[in-house]
């Protein structure tokens, strides 16, 4: 009916959000390169980015689909180890192949590919929970997700070639190889890009009729089947996509740290994910982003407490469930709370008028 004006409006809106993102990107890279923000702030920014991907991806399963996955850290581990081993073997002198398999400089193009491969392998590991989810729900499935987390971490603990429980390192050398070609803050750049890509992909999926099939499972799985939604297929998509993104977060994490060990991806990591999802609000993408920022900053503030933070974080989860189980944003998006934002950021017509 009103196709043409709608299109015109769309085109004038699109650049605003894109430009805001580009501006933020330029600002962060610029400030980093100019030496205005120090290494510590850089690392906090990067952890925020990684946590955004981690919590937003967990939100697909725990928020949109309404299942309770408590083993998200396991998939992060898979992505971290796969991309770390690849990156070390391909671009650096290493104990597996001696010489790097590829010219180290090629990392400059292949680094994101390595991260994505880590994500894809993690997505395959997502089958560990996706397949049981066809027959199992709720508490029973939650137990399976914990089991999956343990299986993955224990496997890595027992693979001597990647250092077992001592961990695996050498990823800093890949970054050095990239910096030798052109000196750029690669991790900041790639984390930023992967955060934007993850958010755009999740949003596009969850706004599509296809992706809403995932939410229909949350509200009534029987209805979904009866109304032609292939629920097993949707579960497969949700679990694999979710664990794939966790794998990407893991790969990025490993390269920021330059070192990984299995203990970093235990049930503790998964719990951090849960806190972020429930703090932000189930099924709220902007909630996940917001809570990832808050949570990361809070972790930094609590760092002096060391192990005691593991009293505070679970306590926070308890208080949250008691007093605000719907999280900061509940089911809503930031744009629903501040309608003005909608005009800027929401391109797709979902207005009520």
């Amino acid at each position: 009916m009103t196709d043409i004006p709608a299109l015109a409006k769309r085109n004038s809106r699109l650049p605003v959000s894109t430009m805001a993102i580009l501006a933020l990107f330029a600002l962060m890279v610029g400030l980093t390169m100019a030496g205005v923000i120090n290494k510590y702030i850089q690392s906090v920014l990067m952890f925020i980015g990684i946590n955004i991907i981690f919590s937003a991806s967990l939100n697909i399963v725990n928020g949109y689909m309404g299942e309770f996955s408590c083993g998200h850290g396991g998939f992060m581990a898979v992505g971290a180890y796969v991309s770390s081993v690849l990156s070390v073997v391909l671009f650096t002198e290493n104990s597996f192949t001696g010489q790097p398999l590829l010219p180290p400089g090629s990392a400059i193009f292949l680094f994101p590919v390595v991260i994505i491969i880590g994500g894809l392998v993690a997505a395959v590991f997502g089958l560990l929970v996706a397949i049981p989810s066809f027959k199992t729900r709720d508490d029973y499935l939650a137990i399976i997700t914990i089991a999956a987390n343990f299986i993955i971490v224990t496997l890595i603990n027992n693979i001597g070639a990647v250092g077992g429980s001592r961990g695996f390192m050498g990823m800093k050398k890949s970054l050095k190889a990239m910096e030798a070609v052109i000196d750029l803050p690669y991790m900041i750049i790639w984390i930023f890009i992967f955060v934007v890509l993850s958010i755009v992909m999740i949003r596009r999926l969850m706004n599509s009729t296809y992706g809403k099939g995932i939410s229909s499972i949350r509200y009534d799985e029987t209805s979904a089947e009866i109304m032609s939604v292939n629920t097993n297929h949707m579960k497969l998509v949700a679990f694999m996509f979710s664990s794939g993104l966790a794998g990407i977060a893991g790969g990025l994490f490993a390269h920021v740290m330059g070192f990984v060990n299995p203990a970093s991806f235990s049930i503790f990591k998964s719990t951090e994910g849960l806190v972020m999802v429930y703090l932000g609000g189930m099924g709220s993408l902007s909630g996940s982003v917001l809570s990832a920022v808050i949570f990361t900053l809070m972790l930094e503030a609590l760092r002096p407490l060391q192990i005691l933070k593991w009293v505070l974080i679970p306590l926070m989860l308890i208080l949250l469930m008691q007093f605000r189980p719907e999280g900061l944003l509940g089911n809503r998006e930031l744009s629903d709370v501040f309608p003005k934002l909608k005009r800027i950021f929401i391109r797709k017509d979902s207005s009520n008028g």
Partner: protein
């Protein structure tokens, strides 16, 4: 020529030791409105659940347009265009009415995950088709104003209407209604009767309904099957059923007839 749409052959279903449906036979002819009645616990809903693939029958066959559909998953049966409603409304009560209608078009999505990520031409084309069809359907059902409401915030009678509209978004050839009049006031009931008649004419489909309210069954159905304890008692016209001694006996003491 009368064309058989759905054929049920020697259908039996047991829940553990309880035989909920026993050796049932039924043919539903294209373009008719048929009724399935019986006292509480007779096995009516179980028959619907068997046809929509919710349970796999212990014995017997279900043929839809000549194809055996028992053993198929519910979504596969829905995709063959069998729509149904539930005795207790089962809308996605926290998603908008519009989303309820749109999601029920999964059977003809026409694009895949990659198309959704990249928002390809194909994606946009099919999303538009789904959206347009949803609005058209809502318009026909005079629900356009409620497109962005959540069903949980709507009155019961309207929810019933939304649920029927949702079933129709499957573009069914067969529509199965499980007690559509349950919980409605008597004025709503007479409206519902006209409404079902209108749906049949307007969407040119075959309707199979379970109903306790005899007024609804008697004024709409050309044929009625009565079951009790999962077994057939009689099948016939409203008149024949009303005068059948077996039916009277089965319902004796049951105030609803």
């Amino acid at each position: 020529m009368a064309e058989t749409l759905l054929e049920i052959k020697d259908l039996t279903h047991r829940f553990g030791g309880l035989t909920a449906v026993s050796d049932l036979n039924f043919e539903i002819i294209k373009d008719e409105i048929v009724g399935l009645i019986g006292p509480n616990g007779a096995g009516k809903t179980t028959v619907f659940n068997l046809v929509s693939g919710f349970y796999v029958p212990s014995e017997g066959d279900i043929l839809y347009k000549g194809e055996r559909i028992n053993g198929l998953k519910p979504h596969e049966i829905a995709s063959r265009q069998i729509g149904r409603t539930f005795q207790n409304i089962r809308l996605w009560s926290d998603m908008t009415v519009l989303d309820n209608i749109k999601i029920s078009q999964h059977y003809r999505l026409g694009y895949n995950l990659m198309d959704a990520f990249l928002q390809t031409k194909k994606y946009k084309k099919h999303e538009k088709m789904i959206e347009d069809d949803a609005h058209e359907l809502l318009e026909e059902f005079q629900l356009s104003d409620l497109a962005h409401e959540m069903p949980k915030n709507l009155p019961y009678g309207i929810q019933r209407r939304v649920e029927i509209a949702r079933a129709l978004s499957l573009k069914p050839a067969l529509l199965m209604l499980d007690e559509p009049a349950a919980g409605l006031s008597s004025s709503d009931v007479s409206e519902l009767i006209q409404y079902i008649q209108w749906i049949k004419e307007n969407f040119k489909l075959t309707i199979w309904m379970i109903e306790h309210q005899m007024q609804v069954i008697m004024s709409l159905c050309s044929r009625i099957k009565v079951i009790d304890f999962g077994k057939e008692l009689v099948t016939g016209t409203a008149e024949e059923v009303r005068n059948s001694p077996e039916v009277i006996k089965a319902y004796l003491g049951d105030g609803e007839i």
